[in-house]
């Protein structure tokens, strides 16, 4: 098969001591960056971008992309250990992963996250290899109306993220939408919800928001618990370091489902990794025979989303390499790196530079293996870190959060945002409002609104545009079907209760 030949060619390009070392170092750095909350791959890559001027293009690309997908492996670590999402796409892992850690099952959680990420990353690469050009042309068909329907589906799945009261989830989701709309409106250029603060003109940054809402609030709650009830935060007994057979059995299908879902959703420019991890969680919960386990330490809630956000990183390469269009900030950086070397990704990229494309793919296979090798032994270290007395642990957590938060934009305002939402998150917990629906709404709301207004501008005000375009109509029908199925389930349960 031609693709396999080309892949072998790619391997031959990277099998040099220099390049293998670059792969290893970059995924290692990426993992560490992913572990540190806040400090993300974008900041690191822009720091290292000048190094790529002096190396060959392929080596530079290998280095930058290694940091990127390495970070998505490491991002789950703090989510599971201390309920701090390193990035928006790791928020969902907090929901069940952290509960597992509190039950002494941090090892299996981390293990499944690592292995799921490996399987998903590899599957994503296979998709990238064989499906890149046809998928790219399908991605182009997604204009504003199609995005509206995707967001619709996302909103319908939103309540699946809540393990408690649905009404409260909806209430807090609306607050999330309002917060998401803060900033300069795209179409009119007018400020909304900015309270006259110039730093809010760009909106609320999601990473400080998530870190505060989940991480800082967790620290506050824990301090209160430890002081009040003198109970330790984490179960003293570590159950085991690696997933057991039952865990494997439960996780296998979610991993496969998450990989496929994440890959396809990740291709869509804008919000790919976030939407894919949230959707994976919602779908796992919907497909599960015991949905009430979710939110209390169900391993499917870690396996699915972690796989989804890893294969989404593979999918995100497709628009860049085949169309020359970056789907997120990381891809924009890679584009910058390519442009400096005078190479422009786009329709002529694959035929004219097969060495770069296939070399990159080969390096990602190798990188995924290295990541598994690096992450699995580290589990032991991370798990034992949790045994440190909380009164010593939490100041370290706070310091990491502060440094990570500032590193995003070099802006002290972000730290204020993080602390503010830390306090809000604490209050929310006290009154049993959950953070996950709020964050999903925060991300989806503005995207939905922007796409809706763009669609109406394109259709000169007609709502029919959502029905006349096939993909958009399909998405909306899917959302309606999901809603209907929930209604039917509800009616059935009611009937069952009445009959009893």
């Amino acid at each position: 098969m031609e693709s396999l030949d080309l892949l072998l060619f790619g391997f031959s390009e990277i099998v040099t001591i220099e390049r293998i070392i670059i792969v290893f170092l970059s995924v290692f750095i990426g993992t560490m960056i992913g572990v540190l909350p806040g400090l993300g791959p974008v900041a690191t890559m822009s720091l290292l971008l000048p190094f790529t001027y002096n190396t060959s293009l392929l080596s530079g690309m290998i280095m930058l992309s290694g940091i990127y997908y390495g970070a998505s492996y490491g991002g789950s670590t703090t989510s599971i250990l201390v309920n701090i999402p390193g990035e928006a796409s790791s928020v969902v892992t907090c929901l069940d992963g952290y509960q597992m850690a509190r039950q002494g099952r941090a090892g299996p959680a981390l293990g499944i996250a690592a292995i799921g990420s490996f399987i998903a990353g590899t599957m994503g690469l296979i998709g990238l290899m064989f499906l890149a050009p046809p998928l790219a042309s399908i991605a182009l068909k997604f204009g504003p109306p199609e995005y509206v329907s995707v967001m619709c589906t996302g909103f319908v799945l939103l309540t699946y993220l809540a393990s408690g009261s649905t009404i409260r989830a909806l209430m807090i989701a609306i607050v999330g939408i309002m917060l998401g709309c803060a900033g300069l409106d795209l179409e009119t250029g007018l400020p909304r919800f900015t309270l006259g603060i110039t730093d809010l003109l760009g909106g609320i940054e999601i990473a400080p928001f998530a870190m505060g809402l989940f991480g800082i609030s967790e620290v506050l709650i824990n301090i209160e618990e430890v002081l009040k009830e003198k109970r330790s935060v984490f179960s003293a007994k570590i159950k085991n370091l690696l997933p057991n057979l039952q865990d494997w059995h439960d996780s296998l299908v979610p991993i496969i489902r998450g990989s496929v879902l994440g890959f396809f959703v990740g291709i869509l420019p804008g919000g790919g990794a976030v939407v894919s991890s949230f959707s994976s969680y919602a779908i796992e919960k919907k497909m599960s025979k015991h949905p009430e386990r979710f939110g209390k330490g169900a391993i499917e809630g870690v396996a699915g989303p972690e796989s989804a956000n890893n294969s989404a990183t593979a999918g995100a390469f497709i628009p860049l390499l085949t169309l020359g269009i970056p789907s997120n900030a990381v891809m924009a950086l890679l584009l910058g790196g390519l442009m400096i070397h005078g190479v422009t990704p786009g329709p002529r990229f694959l035929p004219e530079h097969p060495d770069i494309f296939w070399g990159l793919i080969a390096s990602m296979y190798v990188g995924n293996i290295f990541l598994l090798v690096i992450n699995l032994p580290l589990i032991g270290i991370w798990v034992h870190l949790l045994q440190v007395p909380y009164k010593l642990l939490f100041p370290l957590i706070l310091i990491f959060c502060l440094i990570g938060c500032y590193s995003i934009n070099n802006n002290t305002f972000d730290i204020g945002v993080m602390l503010f939402f830390g306090a809000i998150g604490y209050l929310m917990r006290k009154y049993k409002f959950e953070g996950a629906p709020m964050i999903l709404a925060f991300v989806l709301g503005p995207m939905f609104e922007t796409s809706l207004r763009q669609s109406l501008l394109l259709s000169d005000g007609s709502f029919l545009i959502f029905l006349t375009r096939p993909i958009a109509a399909a998405g909306i029908i899917v959302s309606i079907l999901i809603l209907l199925s929930s209604v039917i389930t509800f009616i059935r349960k009611r009937k069952g209760v009445i009959e009893k």
Partner: protein, 334 residues
């Protein structure tokens, strides 16, 4: 006190006084000839990887050869451009904080309500280094082969029939202002649809969701033009030298688009700092590697010294204010 102690004390005092004297004379001299004594912060008002970012970094790399201490770039997008501008304006005028800026920051933003500064008095202008290439692009399968054909079609059809994609509200971008001038001249209207990034506008055009693309020239865009998938109908200001037959709005409609990317600092920067920086950047712009990068990113190198640049800006300002008032009025009428 013992005699030895007295002698020691006096000696130390004299030594101290000598040091002080040397230091103070140093202080007087140090200001002028020793700048820069530490690294200079350069604030890029856009995200990493974009045209302004990559070209700024290339310029910095070339300029650092002519400075004793390096310039270090940091990205500080945000607040629609207000945050990085304020970061420069509010910095200490010691020459260790400077930044890049475009017409948005210097001309459009001061005319908005939420911008804390209303004119350019809070800034020192250092130098201009480039101009953007702003194309008006359509798909090659569209019915318009030339700009004139598009205008003719637009006049015969309802207002706003042609959907134009851009990256910000038209009142805040120089592209928006220039196209507004053209629309008034020819008496027709585009429907402006704003997208979050240049890439999204490009994919919207390729995917047949919008009719016209009016952002900047990127290498990705040029790939499609070279391949024949997309067609450039016009340039707003400067044109790509290879495209001599494509009209430029500046020539056809005889106005001066506010097209530039420059470097500025807080107000009251001492003259020797301005001189040194201006000189270093000018030399940096002659560096062949910098010019190659600018070429690759389709940005023409365009040097203008600080006094002429400041004059230019002062000339543009009232024109931009007037256009913004017209645009605001137009938006409210709807």
């Amino acid at each position: 006190m013992k005699k030895k102690t007295k002698v020691c004390l006096v000696a130390t005092m004299m030594f101290g006084i000598c040091l002080l004297m040397l230091n103070s004379t140093d202080l007087v001299r140090a200001k002028d000839s020793d700048y820069p004594k530490k690294s200079i912060k350069y604030i890029i008002p856009f995200g990493a990887g974009g045209t302004t970012d990559v070209t700024s970094r290339a310029l910095i790399k070339a300029t650092n050869k002519y400075l004793v201490e390096p310039i270090i770039a940091i990205n500080k997008p945000g607040g629609g451009g207000v945050t990085p501008a304020l970061a420069v304006m509010n910095a200490k005028p010691d020459g260790y904080t400077i930044g890049a800026f475009s017409s948005t920051h210097s001309l459009m933003l001061p005319n908005t309500d939420e911008c804390p500064y209303k004119d350019l008095s809070g800034f020192s202008i250092i130098v201009r280094y480039g101009k953007y290439l702003w194309p008006v692009v359509v798909r090659s399968d569209s019915p318009w082969k030339t700009w004139e054909e598009l205008v003719a079609w637009a006049k015969k059809n309802p207002k706003g029939a042609i959907k134009l994609g851009c990256t910000s509200n038209r009142a805040r971008s120089p592209v928006g202002h220039s196209i507004f001038t053209v629309e008034r001249h020819e008496d027709f209207e585009f429907t402006f649809v704003a997208f979050k990034s240049t890439g999204k506008v490009l994919s919207a055009l390729l995917g047949n969701h919008i009719d016209v693309y009016a952002v900047s020239t990127t290498p990705s865009l040029m790939e499609y033009v070279k391949e024949g998938t997309l067609r450039i109908l016009a340039y707003i200001d400067v044109r790509n030298p290879e495209h001599k037959h494509i009209p430029s709005f500046r020539e056809v409609y005889e106005f001066k688009p506010t097209n530039f990317v420059g470097i500025w600092g807080p107000k009251d920067l001492p003259n020797h700092v301005l001189e040194k920086l201006g000189c270093a950047f000018a030399k940096g712009m002659h560096d062949p590697e910098f010019q190659k990068t600018m070429d690759r990113l389709y940005m023409p190198v365009s040097y203008l010294g600080r006094s002429e640049f400041r004059e230019d800006l002062n000339e543009f300002f009232p024109f931009v204010s007037k256009t913004m008032k017209l645009l605001k009025a137009k938006a409210k009428i709807k």
